[in-house]
């Protein structure tokens, strides 16, 4: 088998995956590693523009999942799979570790139970520590810590690059990526299912529904009525990079029945993050931040780390978890319909994505879709590094000597160079919008939010799009 794109010979894809988030991209990648033709349909104008772009970006060990659930199994497996994949592709990741902090007696008493739960999940490296040890690791925490539980392997990762790597990999393995293809109708036939989209019809023998917040809608189009998605909003503050020395580990709250609670975490880009909130909404598009959300976060932050709140905020955003009315992932195949649902991937989908894809593959095979791994697959893509833990282009003297575009800093706050912007515009999955460029390079994401670079970045994006396909912007003709 070869790595040439596998387009359907009769206009009908073997599998159509709906949703270009982390889960859909991971599934498309997995399936296109097999001898089938795959299409990935995404409603928006870029992959990773839904929930997958706006989360807390933690690579979870799964220590606190509910033992015995599918989620706990896939998060634990996903941790290892994504760690290895990050290594192979250059997705920025930092194994910082976490400390779960108890602020009152009740929380302190919950720690042994959490340690046991972790062990039931197969994670045995948690340790209960006293307040002194917590302060030794996190000297700037607010007053009143009583103790903590360490989770040495909890990590931070770049969610944007993860999504892009998976989708790029899928594409290089032959997946056809169809952007602006919002699925609005489904017509089941004996041989193939026709998906009606804003950009025309797409036909496929099998359909995988990984539409995140829209998964229940698609499910209904297939005639099911098994669940309803509740958008659960999470708002976050990103603090200035100058705060990064305050927080070297993920600071977790003791989880309650309502969710994981507000955490403080370093980011892979060198910031510190505070959040998220958890608020059930009805509008699945409402990713606005809110006054109440801000007030809540600030009151939490005041307690957790007052010093942090004295610093500048760089950004704030909100993401919507696809919560459903049961406490596990809902992944089910309907063999008679050649259809598979991936629903309720609420708050761990970034970590579990690749493991979910593996699981989905198994279910599809069982349901009757033969999936044979191809012998020769293209190597995984090498992603541009936008993390702070390893060398960035602006720091790489050899690289700049070879191509001075990497020595021209365009976005000063984030130190993004012209070379990186150019590359992102000509990548296999190119940036087509400012938002897409921001996620690929970090450009305009810094403390000035475009005061200095906004206009220049807009111009560069335009310049590189007008000569799309031409990749010769190098040293000699600059």
């Amino acid at each position: 088998m070869t790595a040439t794109p596998r387009s359907p010979h009769d206009g009908v894809y073997d599998v159509a995956v709906i949703g270009g988030g982390i889960v859909g991209a991971a599934i498309a990648r997995e399936l296109s590693g097999c001898d089938v033709s795959v299409a990935l349909l995404e409603a928006r104008d870029d992959v990773g523009d839904g929930t997958s772009k706006a989360n807390t970006a933690i690579l979870h060990t799964g220590f606190d999942a509910k033992p015995g659930t599918l989620e706990s199994r896939l998060v634990a497996r996903g941790y290892h799979l994504l760690s290895a994949y990050a290594e192979a592709t250059g997705i920025p990741v930092e194994h910082t570790g976490a400390v779960l902090v108890a602020w009152n007696e009740e929380e302190l008493e919950a720690l042994p139970g959490l340690k046991e739960k972790a062990e039931a999940n197969g994670y045995t490296r948690c340790r209960i520590v006293d307040a002194d040890e917590v302060y030794a690791a996190l000297p700037d925490l607010g007053e009143g810590v009583l103790g903590g539980l360490t989770v040495p392997d909890e990590s931070i990762i770049c969610t944007w690059t993860t999504n892009l790597a998976l989708a790029t990999d899928a594409r290089q393995r032959g997946t056809t990526i169809l952007l602006k293809h919002a699925v609005t109708g489904v017509e089941e036939g004996t041989e193939a299912t026709t998906l009606h989209t804003a950009a025309g019809e797409v036909r496929a023998r099998w359909v995988v529904n990984a539409a995140g917040l829209g998964a229940d809608h698609i499910d209904r189009l297939f005639g099911h009525d098994r669940f309803t998605v509740t958008p659960r909003r999470g708002e976050l503050f990103v603090f200035d990079k100058l705060t990064r020395p305050l927080v070297n580990k993920i600071v977790l709250p003791v989880p309650t029945s309502r969710g994981k609670g507000v955490l403080i975490s370093p980011t892979i880009y060198g910031n510190v993050m505070l959040g998220p909130t958890a608020e059930d909404l009805t509008d699945r598009t409402d990713t606005a931040t809110s006054e109440d959300g801000y007030a809540f976060l600030l009151s939490k932050g005041e307690r957790l780390m007052p010093r942090l709140l004295a610093e500048e905020v760089t950004a704030s955003y909100a993401g919507l978890r696809a919560a459903i009315d049961r406490s596990d992932y809902l992944i089910e195949a309907s063999p008679e319909q050649r259809y598979l649902l991936v629903g309720g991937i609420r708050s761990t989908g970034l970590t579990a994505g690749i493991a979910i894809a593996e699981h989905v593959r198994g279910l599809l095979e069982k349901a009757g879709l033969p999936l044979r791994t191809r012998e020769e697959l293209p190597p995984p893509p090498r992603m541009p590094n936008i993390g702070e833990a390893t060398l960035r282009p602006y720091q790489d003297g050899d690289l700049i000597d070879r191509d001075p575009a990497y020595g021209t800093v365009v976005c000063f706050c984030e130190r993004v160079t012209e070379g990186e912007i150019r590359d992102a515009c000509h990548a296999p999955l190119p940036a087509r919008t400012l938002e897409g460029l921001r996620r690929r390079t970090r450009v305009m994401n810094g403390r000035c939010q475009g005061f200095f670079c906004g206009a220049a970045v807009t111009a560069l994006l335009e310049q590189h799009q007008t000569d799309d396909g031409c990749r010769s912007q190098h040293k000699d003709n600059r």
Binding site: A288, E291, V313, L391, G397, T408, R415, G450
Partner: protein, 417 residues
């Protein structure tokens, strides 16, 4: 890494080629203070005036008035003619060690170790996010800096109807730029009871600008998916809220110094300005490191920044000649309604501050301000000044009011009556 970064060793490195940095360079090169190098991360030197394409520059330093771009060109030319070297597209990204800076440019990644350093990195406006304004994240939300870059350097269109947040001098500058770009400034929003910066414009200017002002108000939400559609504003006294339709929002003023390099070096910052704490010779807490311009007083006019540059040059020369400051000194402290004072440290034998003025920022409008200087519970001096203290622009106080201060006493408080 195989790469061994090159090292260059000028006598003076000036970081930032805005009015402060370029003027310091011209002055130092003119005094033959050795090899003077200015680096700026932008493609062209000149700082903010490059894209501030309206008149109003150069009055106090050049004694004539010109446009921002013309002023920037003039300062660049003067520095070059005096013999300073200017390297653009050259960004200082951090400290390699206590005396050496890391630099990225198209010519490569290298290091600079000067004998003396002047930080002149300027200030920026806080964007919407830093002001913690919630809501959607649509296109069309800018700072004045971004707006002027878009309009004057890149000739790009903006929207049709704008709301300007802030009532500072720069807010009126934003209004001018919007008009030029064919966008109507529909409303200006100011937290103050009056848009006091009106006073800075003559009657003619005011008629031309004619922008309705919602005073005692703040923005509570940005509305719009894709493109901005409206803002929600609140009256601070009544709590009443309303939405104002607009496709463009410009967040103006609310400055913060670009103090990253200063902070990274562990230089002491002033908690009021958030810039480096300096004495009247513009020395920072790190020997051999000076600071000038809006990094110290966010934000004053360009000519004042330039005159800082002139002032600092002489102090740098003294430092290069081996002179060291007295380690005595008293702190200047701004009492409310003042938010900050610059400089903040008074040492015996030091020169008067640049232009013989202390710079302060007030949160309240006072038409006939009676400035009082106190030390150790004693009134050192008191004077009613002939110009108002107005929010949104720097308030200048003659440094002669400090004449009676004891260099060995306690902190000196500057307040109103």
């Amino acid at each position: 890494m195989t790469h061994q970064p090159r090292l260059i060793t000028p006598d003076v490195l000036i970081i930032g080629g805005g009015p402060a940095g370029l003027t310091a360079a011209a002055e130092l090169a003119g005094r033959r203070a050795g090899k003077i190098l200015v680096v700026d991360r932008e493609q062209d030197a000149g700082g903010i005036p490059r894209h501030s394409d309206h008149t109003g520059y150069g009055l106090r330093d050049l004694h004539r008035v010109m446009s921002g771009p013309a002023y920037a060109r003039h300062l660049l030319q003067a520095a070059t003619a005096a013999g300073a070297e200017i390297r653009t597209s050259t960004m200082v990204t951090g400290w390699a060690d206590a005396d050496t800076l890391d630099v990225t440019s198209p010519e490569g990644r290298y290091r600079i170790r000067p004998r003396a350093l002047v930080l002149a990195t300027g200030a920026r406006e806080r964007p919407r996010t830093a002001r913690r304004v919630p809501g959607d994240r649509p296109h069309g939300v800018y700072t004045t800096g971004q707006l002027q870059n878009l309009v004057h350097l890149h000739h790009r269109p903006v929207g049709k109807r704008a709301v300007i947040v802030g009532g500072e001098l720069v807010s009126w500058s934003a209004a001018v730029t919007l008009r030029e770009a064919g966008c109507t400034p529909a409303l200006m929003i100011s937290q103050y009871p009056k848009a006091e910066s009106y006073g800075a414009f003559n009657a003619a200017g005011r008629t031309v600008l004619r922008v309705p002002v919602a005073t005692r108000s703040r923005v509570t939400r940005i509305i719009g998916k894709g493109r901005c559609e409206a803002v929600e504003i609140e009256h601070l006294d009544t709590g009443r809220r309303r939405t104002v339709a607009c496709d463009t929002v410009v967040f103006t003023g609310d400055w913060i110094p670009d103090h990253e390099l200063a902070r990274a070096a562990g230089i002491t910052l002033d908690t009021g300005t958030l810039g480096p704490l300096t004495d009247t010779a513009l020395r920072t807490s790190l020997p051999g490191v000076f600071a000038a311009g809006n990094l110290l007083h966010p934000v004053d006019t360009a000519d004042v920044a330039a005159l800082d540059g002139k002032h600092v040059a002489e102090q740098v020369v003294r430092y290069l000649n081996g002179e060291r400051p007295s380690d005595q000194g008293v702190r200047l402290i701004a009492d409310a309604p003042f938010r900050w004072v610059a400089p903040q440290l008074l040492r015996p034998q030091d020169p008067a501050p640049a232009r013989g003025r202390l710079l302060l920022w007030t949160d309240e409008f006072v038409r006939f301000p009676k400035v009082t200087v106190r030390q150790d519970g004693r009134v050192v001096s008191r004077r009613t000044l002939a110009w108002p203290a107005a929010p949104g622009r720097v308030f200048r106080v003659p440094s002669g009011l400090l004449d009676g201060v004891s260099p060995t006493g306690g902190p000196v408080h500057i307040g109103l009556r």
